[in-house]
């Protein structure tokens, strides 16, 4: 909402020279009371040195028909100016910017020569004064003003325009009176608003028009006034200026008056050309479904039964509260106007405007709730201005149909409740002063009973009044108190803490934590994985953000792609986040997962060690460490195909024999879809399942008292013999004294034999009762080797 500082000043009467009421100070008062000032714009201050002048003679230059050499009387002398306006003619009183003057856009005027003709300045059009955007004609003034008169004498161009953010609960502040009332409460000044009543002629309004409201819910009040004998023309400069500064395009004097009164009172008005009504009737009714109507902007609108129409008995003449119709709009020929000032139901207007996608100054006000008691007063004001500016005669009386009267909310206000809620000792007298300042009526006794003002639809409960007290008192005057304490222990925090610990662990392991959008390209995912069920949005912004991710792998693939595209080749990533799975019954199940992603080098390039590329074991190794971090005893992988992964490298992950997720190598097809040209390994784990596993019970065992003995053994086996089989044979044949077996070398070369591999293991032996002798351990090693020969076809590598 754009608000004029000058207009506020005329309503409140503060002294603009007083620094307490400077434009900046007023802005601060408004911001700190809830009408946030988004911008402050200073207007007209730059304009300098403009005076009135009269054209004595205007001669076309050469063979042009749009340039005139004008000789002008500037009051003190004659000057010559070249002017390009078609309306430049002899005896016209105009505005003259001599050399040295400054116009609205900051241009300093200098003497020039146009087509060889000297020009001592320029004659001004409206845009050069900042009155409007019009540039086609120079401004024409009344003849009775003396040439040489400075512009400031006839028009005050200086103002400060605020752009206020008005919250939806405060329709009253969509007007200068409403904002002035705020200032009144904040400063204690009085509101000076006593517009003159129109002088009425004998003919009565009711003899000229009949008003019927067929839908009192949609239109609880409708008032009409008639002004006859008006002359429609351009508005006076001051009116154009005000509208232009406040962001409304001047149309003609009658329409401008309705807009001016709206900016002043908040009440949207509409003027109809009465002579263009089919009958002398106004009927307010609902539209028929598919009824068509051409609004003022020339667009044909298809209506629904939700729309409220103003009709003349035969046809629609306005879309109530939103926009008037082209068929009855005020034109230069209009002689008699019907001024409508009504109250329309907010929900009806809001739905209606939304249905046709049309939001206007009028609809924005009605949908927030206007002041129903303002309707006739605004109409009186508009009629009086029409009389003054358009020279019309105001007919006697106002037709005021008011089928659904305003019922104010009446409720108790307890000052002690306000004190408790606000946490500040505000005196009751101060509270009453605030209520008075805001024009909130109350009965004063042992009990304070509030009567809701008609202009404040938001004040219906005690708490609403408490808010008024708090904001006018000043939020920054409320003290700060500090009430902290221990956890109330109502919400278990263990899971969150374990997840945080896991995150820290992974970061310690050199992972980078990622955080992806949960919205994905639904079509792409379904193209790659037709089997996968995906929850789609009904109203997505775009196809790329059209579905909720069904897993974290798709997010990880996107992250990897992005990074590879930017040359970040060595990746070690994790994300913990939620995924969304559509269930059979239409519901969507949400759960958290952990995802790991690897690509490029498994460790940084270094002079100390050879760097290897990430492979399955990079991922598997980290998965084992995660198990260790969570005190889970056993990690195993079992082959299991899945669409994301290469068949050879697709496994389910089991922790303590519970299936917790998958690990694998990104399938070539999927990689191609995403334009990924580098091997990627990924793992995804269901977090609930992971955290639900029982960690090993921690119980002190006592450290061994006797030393252990290590033995290494290297065996050659067929390539397809798995490590786990060899280790199982060694464990079984070795017996209880084998403490640990671990492979430390794997060797596949031709000199070992076709389809053979060599594996070396370190075995740790220990007895809890004595120190083992070499002979004893040698004996066990012999047994183990024999078992390996028999059961795994192994040979000792020599």
């Amino acid at each position: 909402m754009r608000i004029s500082y000058k207009w506020l000043q005329s309503l409140i009467g503060f002294d603009p020279q007083d620094p307490e009421f400077s434009p900046e100070a007023i802005a601060d008062l408004l911001t700190m009371s809830g009408s946030s000032v988004e911008s402050i714009e200073s207007k007209g201050n730059d304009i300098k040195g403009i005076i009135l002048a009269r054209i004595l003679d205007a001669q076309p230059i050469g063979n042009t028909d749009n340039l005139f050499k004008c000789s002008i009387d500037t009051g003190s002398r004659r000057a010559q100016v070249v002017c390009g306006a078609p309306n430049a003619k002899t005896d016209l009183t105009v505005l003259y910017a001599p050399a040295g003057a400054v116009i609205a856009d900051g241009t300093k005027i200098s003497q020039t020569s146009i087509r060889g003709v000297q020009s001592e300045g320029m004659l001004l059009a409206e845009d050069e004064l900042g009155i409007s955007d019009k540039h086609d004609r120079i401004i024409e003034l009344a003849d009775d003003i003396q040439p040489g008169t400075p512009l400031e004498k006839i028009l005050d161009l200086c103002d400060t325009i605020y752009d206020l953010e008005i919250t939806p609960n405060r329709p009253d502040c969509l007007s200068h009176i409403g904002v002035a009332r705020e200032l009144k409460a904040l400063t204690g000044f009085a509101l000076k608003y006593n517009p003159a009543c129109p002088f009425e002629i004998k003919q009565t309004t009711s003899s000229m028009i009949e008003i019927q409201i067929a839908d009192p819910d949609g239109c609880p009040r409708y008032t009409a006034r008639i002004v006859s004998g008006i002359r429609v023309s351009e508005s006076p400069l001051w009116l154009k200026l005000r509208l232009h500064y406040l962001g409304i395009r001047p149309i003609n004097n009658m329409v401008d008056i309705t807009n001016y009164v709206m900016l002043e009172t908040g009440q949207p008005l509409h003027a109809f050309d009465l002579d263009r009504l089919a009958e002398r009737r106004v009927v307010v009714r609902r539209a028929e479904n598919s009824e068509k109507f051409v609004t003022l902007d020339g667009v044909e609108r298809q209506l629904r039964a939700d729309h409220l129409l103003i009709t003349d008995g035969k046809r629609a003449i306005a879309l109530a509260g939103i926009m008037g119709g082209a068929n009855t709009e005020v034109t230069d020929e209009t002689k008699t106007v019907l001024i409508e000032s009504a109250y329309f139901d907010p929900v009806t207007i809001r739905r209606g405007a939304k249905l046709i996608g049309l939001s206007t100054e009028s609809s924005q006000r009605f949908e927030r709730g206007m002041d129903i008691e303002m309707a006739p007063r605004a109409n009186d004001r508009a009629a009086a201005l029409a009389q003054e500016i358009c020279g019309g005669n105001v007919l006697d009386g106002i037709v005021d149909i008011y089928p659904k009267r305003f019922k104010p909310a009446v409720f108790e206000f307890r000052p002690e409740r306000a004190i408790a809620m606000i946490g500040a000792r505000i005196e009751v007298g101060k509270m009453k002063k605030i209520l008075d300042g805001l024009d909130i009526g109350y009965s004063d006794g042992a009990r304070i009973e509030i009567r809701q003002p008609s202009f404040r639809p938001d004040l219906t409960r005690e708490i609403d009044i408490i808010e008024e007290i708090a904001r006018i008192h000043g939020l920054n005057k409320i003290p700060e108190s500090f009430r902290a304490g221990g956890s109330l222990l109502k919400i278990p925090q263990a899971k969150r803490e374990r997840v945080d610990s896991l995150r820290s662990f992974l970061v310690g392991r050199g992972f980078i934590e990622t955080f992806q959008l949960t919205l994905i390209d639904g079509n792409q995912v379904q193209k790659i994985f037709p089997e996968l069920a995906v929850a789609r949005l009904k109203n997505p912004l775009s196809e790329e953000l059209s579905a909720l991710r069904p897993d974290l792998l798709c997010s990880m693939v996107r992250t990897i792609r992005h990074n590879l595209n930017y040359g970040n080749r060595d990746l070690r990533l994790f994300e913990i986040g939620n995924v969304f799975l559509p269930l059979e019954n239409g519901e969507i199940s949400e759960s958290d997962r952990l995802c790991l992603g690897f690509s490029g080098l498994a460790s940084p390039m270094s002079w100390r060690q050879k760097s290897v590329q990430c492979d399955f074991f990079t991922a598997a190794g980290e998965l084992e460490l995660i198990a260790g971090h969570l005190d889970l005893a056993k990690t195993t992988f079992r082959p299991d195909p899945c669409a994301y992964f290469d068949n050879e490298y697709s496994f389910k992950i089991y922790y303590n024999d519970v299936d917790v997720g998958r690990v694998g190598k990104l399938a070539a097809v999927v990689a191609r879809h995403f334009g990924i040209k580098q091997e990627c390994f990924m793992a995804e784990i269901e977090l609930e399942r992971l955290l639900g596993l029982t960690a090993a019970v921690k119980c002190h065992k006592g450290l061994p008292k006797y030393p252990g003995t290590d033995r290494d053994i290297a065996v050659v086996v067929d390539s397809d013999v798995r490590c786990s089989e060899i280790m199982a044979v060694m464990g079984k044949s070795g017996g209880d004294l084998v403490e640990e077996i671990f492979p430390f070398d794997l060797y596949k070369k031709e000199n070992i034999g076709q389809n053979k591999k060599s594996m070396a293991f370190r075995l740790k032996f220990r007895s809890l009762e004595r120190t083992l002798t070499d002979a004893e351990v040698d004996e066990i090693m012999k047994r183990i080797l024999e078992a390996l020969r028999q059961e795994a076809g192994a040979e000792l590598r020599t």
Binding site: T31, M32, S33, G34, T167, P168, V347, R351, K354, A420, M421, I422, G423, I463, D464, I466, E467, A470, L475, N476, I478, P479, E480, S481, R483, A484, S487, L488, L489, I491, Q493, R496, R503, S504, L506, G510, F511, I512, E513, T514, F515, Q516, L517, L519, K538, N539, P540, H562, N563, Y566, N568, D570, L573, N578, F580, I588, S603, P604, M605, R608
Partner: protein
């Protein structure tokens, strides 16, 4: 006892003492020559063994050999740990970068969440959560947001085909928590939210919020001011100031917006705060009685405050990030900066 035995004993003591404080190879070499070299006392004694009376000669010989072995062993073990000589080729080039492993980093947005959580935990808030796929009831109705409120427009909220929606704020967690717990309740609820905003430098259709709620007997706006100010100072330093302005939200009354003193210019006015000196952070207020009604709390007995904050925005302010999309792109070069 004969002299030689005593001398061997003394020699042993002094030799071991000499070896005790050796830190480099050079000294070790010198001491070795001194103790075991041809001119050492030990060698002298060995050479003069022939002159020792025959009855103690075997014992003296054995002790000398034993001492030589002891010293040699000691020298060998010192040689293993003592640093190399001063010769250039033996010196290490300690400027060689090692890069032992990749360094991990937490995502900057989640680092901010972690810090915010830690601050509020310290003030006795528990961390609550809730689903992102929500019902209209929890996202709007229970929060006193009537069906015709502009924020329920299709253009702001993402809907799913089953009539559910993606929560537009973390406030549904307030309702879910109050439904399950009787007062007092003190929680924060960080989490993802969704609004149908086209992505640009300052908007993302998916963003991160944190909600706070405290309901008890006698909670007032002064408490709200206290907690927000304490939080601001914990996050941005003890000089931080907070400004409260009246505002409107359907689910709080009175409602406020709170601003932090601009973290860049400290209130002097700069480009980032648009010369206001203040940065708009988020909204807060006293829980509206209608919300209490929805969860069955008696607003005549209990009162409470609620506040929200945009964690994306706070993260961007903390690290001077000028484009919200960077937070969701996951470029490792970006995340490694934090």
């Amino acid at each position: 006892m004969s002299d030689i035995i005593e001398e061997i004993e003394a020699l042993k003591k002094s030799a071991l003492k000499a070896l005790d404080n050796i830190n480099d190879k050079k000294t070790l070499e010198d001491v070795k020559v001194e103790l075991l070299g041809r001119k050492s006392r030990l060698s002298e004694l060995s050479r003069s063994l022939g002159k020792v009376p025959a009855d103690i000669r075997p014992k003296a010989g054995a002790e000398l050999n034993e001492l030589r072995r002891t010293i040699q062993e000691k020298i060998d073990s010192i040689a293993k740990v003592v640093s190399s000589s001063n010769k250039a080729e033996d010196k290490i080039d300690y400027t060689l970068p090692v890069r032992a492993a990749f360094l991990g980093h937490k995502h900057p947005l989640l680092q901010t969440v972690d810090e915010i959580v830690a601050i509020f935990k310290g003030m006795g808030f528990d961390i609550a959560g809730g689903p992102e796929v929500e019902t209209e009831y929890y996202n709007f109705d229970a929060l006193n947001t009537p069906a015709d409120h502009p924020s329920r427009d299709l253009s702001d909220t993402f809907f799913l085909s089953n009539g559910m929606l993606l929560r537009t704020h973390t406030s549904p967690v307030q309702i879910r928590t109050m439904e399950k717990n009787r007062p007092p309740v003190r929680i924060i609820a960080p989490g993802r939210c969704y609004r149908s905003d086209w992505p640009d430098a300052s908007h993302s259709p998916v963003f991160y919020q944190c909600e706070g709620l405290y309901v008890d007997i006698g909670v007032s706006m002064a408490d709200l001011k206290g907690v927000i100010t304490a939080f601001a100072r914990a996050l941005f330093g003890s000089e931080m100031q907070v400004r409260f302005r009246p505002h409107f939200f359907p689910f709080t009354e009175p409602s406020v917006e709170y601003d932090f003193l601009c973290v860049f210019c400290r209130g002097k006015g700069c480009k980032i705060c648009k010369h206001a000196g203040w940065l708009e952070i988020s909204g807060a207020g006293m829980v509206d009685p209608e919300v209490f009604k929805a969860v069955g709390y008696d607003s005549e007995i209990y009162s409470g405050y609620a506040f929200g904050m945009g964690i994306d925005r706070i993260t961007m302010l903390r690290y001077q990030i000028d484009d919200i999309r960077l937070l969701y792109e996951n470029d490792v070069r970006f995340i490694r900066q934090f």
